[in-house]
Amino acid sequence: MENLINIFVKSVFIDNMIFAYFLGMCSYLAVSKTVKTSVGLGIAVIFVLGITVPVDYLIENYLLKEGALLWLSPQLADVDLSFLTFIMFIAVIASMVQLVEMVIEKFSPALYSSLGIFLPLIAVNCAILGGSLFMQERQYNSIIEATSFGLGSGVGWFLAIVGIAAIREKIRYSSIPAPLRGLGITFIITGLMGIAFMSFMGIKL
């Protein structure tokens, strides 16, 4: 249990998707103009990361890894399909996003109308594929750990986008040098927020 909380906290603060790895920057910059829309996108990202990371964990361990096909028949013990990783992960993500979209539409029309346009965008959000690839690289021991990592990364992304959106709403009233307006200042503020987040690095987990 303690281990799970550690993984969660670590992926929210220390290995934050935006500030430490710049993943999902495109939608982060494009959608962070108002707090309301960024909350919507943030929740959608938590949701999708929380589902795709464990699914990709299963695919990685029962299909792609060297010897992962052992459960089918002993002859397949040295089959290594890991070169298919990218294409499998991206296919899983695209289809999961589609599926999640349909399920939400059926069971919670209210949530669907608030997330609606963001869900399809998420299929090409680097944070989602990045989550799965980091999961593969870091070799989590169980599917529960992988889920905890996925949810944590989502929450970290959510915090980052809501934070920058709040700052951008306020900064509209400040006088910024003209060439820095818009994109330039957003980059610099993200950098400063990143430096603030680096103070979590000293925490040993």
Partner: protein, 215 residues
Amino acid sequence: MGDREPLFSTKNIKLLKEPLGTNNPITVQVLGICSALAITVKLKPSIVMAISVVAVTAFSNVIISLLRNYIPPRIRIIVQLTVIATMVILVDQILKAFAYDVSKQLSVFVGLIITNCIIMGRLEAFALGNRPWPSFLDGVGNGAGYGIILIIVAFFRELLGSGTIYGYPVLEKIGLYKTGYVNNGLMILPPMALITVGIIIWVQRSKNQDLIETH
């Protein structure tokens, strides 16, 4: 067809040159920032990354452009993703075979070329409606426009952060350390990549006033 236009007509040259400056994918179109800033600590991985992105954009542009009349519009996204993923797998396997240490440094970021918005964006905006040769040039141009920003950022981060250029200890050779100069450790940390890009945008926009945003 009528009369064929020459391979390097003015129009085609423009396709190649525009993304390097006034229509740069990173600083103007705001695409594809995601996958790459984390690897700009050193010049070498950045150059490898830039070449990989140029290769993937150019060739997936050509493939989609060749297939453009056969792809049903409804499933075009998944077709595009498959083509991109295949190209990225090729790049990844080549890197693993010929430049293993760089491939280890780049870790997951080679895979993340798949979700690099520049590639998807160019396929959607250009390759689906143009012939293979212009698409190839467009791909090379946009890949290079992206690569050039990576290389500029990496140049400054490596020079100021580690005092080297492409692994060569420049500052030590010119004897700067003897005067009491110390490397700026902050430049190696991830947030400085963002701030460096912010400054590049600042410089570019103050030179080219047309690009300035009005909130």
